[in-house]
């Protein structure tokens, strides 16, 4: 289970950010400029901020399908887990919700920046097994976690593939890194050795269908670039995400 403190802070921060955004939208342009220029300590950010234009805000939500491949290597523990009970090569479903900023960098490059809270349930495919014939066949000393709660930071570049001026829709190709922060705690079996990294890095590619800027539908594939476990255990995670992007103003 994730730390209640972290979840509370995340939800509170998201709410505060949302309120600030709404408040900013109610101010006149002059007021906003004045406020903006007064913050001299944020000059670097200000310069960066000027490069990012046409920003849209979206609520992002959907389902994911996840699998992990585990090579336990020479990891040893007091426990044995028979693979007949734990091995699963299938993808398993989870879900996610979050916030995404879409816009242009230097008026040319389409980008997005997402903060996504996801519940990941995963199939666990073990690529090697221990044997102790004739007593135990095919077991592992490492029981992989099959459920996580992650906070993902996802900066993506977007490339327009096809647009229809008449119909008003666009197809886009997206790609970029994803930084997943593991919020959930380990199960009792993994507390002692604590084999999981706190942050996982993945690469993400996908396609998005944007309809009149009202909403977007997307399909993303995420491939783990680093092991989510520490040596000698190597665990690679694979994930498909399907979902929708909606403007908060259309929801509330």
């Amino acid at each position: 289970m994730p730390s209640k403190k972290v979840l509370t802070i995340f939800l509170l921060s998201f709410f505060i950010h949302f309120c600030i955004t709404l408040q900013a939208q109610n101010k006149s342009k002059e007021e906003m400029d004045k406020l903006y220029l007064n913050k001299k300590e944020f000059n670097i950010v200000k310069d960066m901020n000027e490069d990012f234009t046409s920003i849209s805000h979206y609520v992002i939500l959907g389902i994911n399908q996840t699998k992990q491949n585990i090579a336990a290597g020479n990891y040893n523990s007091y426990f044995n887990y028979q693979l007949v009970d734990y091995n699963s090569t299938s993808y398993k479903p989870g879900y996610f919700i979050g916030y995404r900023n879409d816009g242009f960098y230097k008026e040319k490059i389409r980008y997005s920046l997402g903060l996504i809270l996801s519940k990941v349930v995963s199939g666990t495919a073990y690529s090697n097994a221990n044997n102790l014939p004739p007593f135990i066949s095919e077991f592992t000393h490492f029981k992989a976690e099959d459920a996580f709660i992650n906070l993902s930071i996802t900066p993506l570049l977007k490339q327009l593939v096809f647009t229809s001026e008449n119909a008003g829709f666009k197809f886009l190709f997206v790609g970029g890194p994803t930084f997943d922060i593991k919020l959930s705690r380990n199960s009792a079996a993994n507390i002692a050795y604590n084999p999981y990294h706190k942050i996982f890095v993945s690469g993400k590619i996908g396609i998005e269908f944007e309809n009149h800027s009202y909403y977007s539908l997307f399909l993303h594939y995420k491939h783990g670039l680093s092991s989510i476990t520490i040596a000698p255990i190597k665990t690679t995670i694979y994930n498909f995400e399907m979902g929708i992007l909606i403007k908060p103003s259309d929801l509330f």
Binding site: T21, K46, I55, H57, L132, P134, F135, L151, A192, K198
Partner: protein, 138 residues
């Protein structure tokens, strides 16, 4: 403005997530998982290995031991008593304090070589001879 807020929020959350989760209780969790796997089961001796000799008991009357959730134990030799799981010098052990059918007190220690939901490998040393016992739940 909006980008700045999102940027700071991202950086803030990045650091906040590192504050919790620093406490560890390795021994307690190892023992807790061991109890979960061991307790409320009847364990049947399948193999006994002493030195280079291995004897099988599969398909034959065999030694049976129960470990219950209330930390009591009984076996097919008629011994009854209590047990605890302990982690001492990186050795996971079962300490049994029991009474024989003739009410004589006996205390013995098994070292857990490996434990699973359905399999248990114990070893114990008697007069410098080490014996490994392979149990299953059937």
């Amino acid at each position: 403005m909006r980008f700045r807020t999102t940027l700071f929020l991202s950086i803030g959350l990045f650091f906040i997530t590192f504050f919790p989760g620093c406490k560890k209780n390795d021994t307690a969790s190892t023992i807790s998982v061991s109890y979960q796997m061991l307790a409320n089961k009847t364990w049947y001796l399948d193999y006994k290995k002493a030195g280079t000799k291995t004897k099988t008991y599969i398909g034959q009357p065999t030694y049976v031991i129960n470990f219950l959730k209330n930390l009591t134990t009984s076996d097919s030799d008629g011994m009854t008593g209590t047990y605890t799981v302990e982690l001492i010098n990186n050795e996971l052990q079962i300490h049994v304090q029991a009474k024989t059918p003739k009410e004589n007190s006996i205390e013995y220690i098994y070292t857990i070589e490996s434990i699973g939901v359905k399999n248990l490998i114990l070893s114990h040393v008697l007069n410098t001879d080490s014996t490994t016992l392979y149990f299953s739940t059937k």
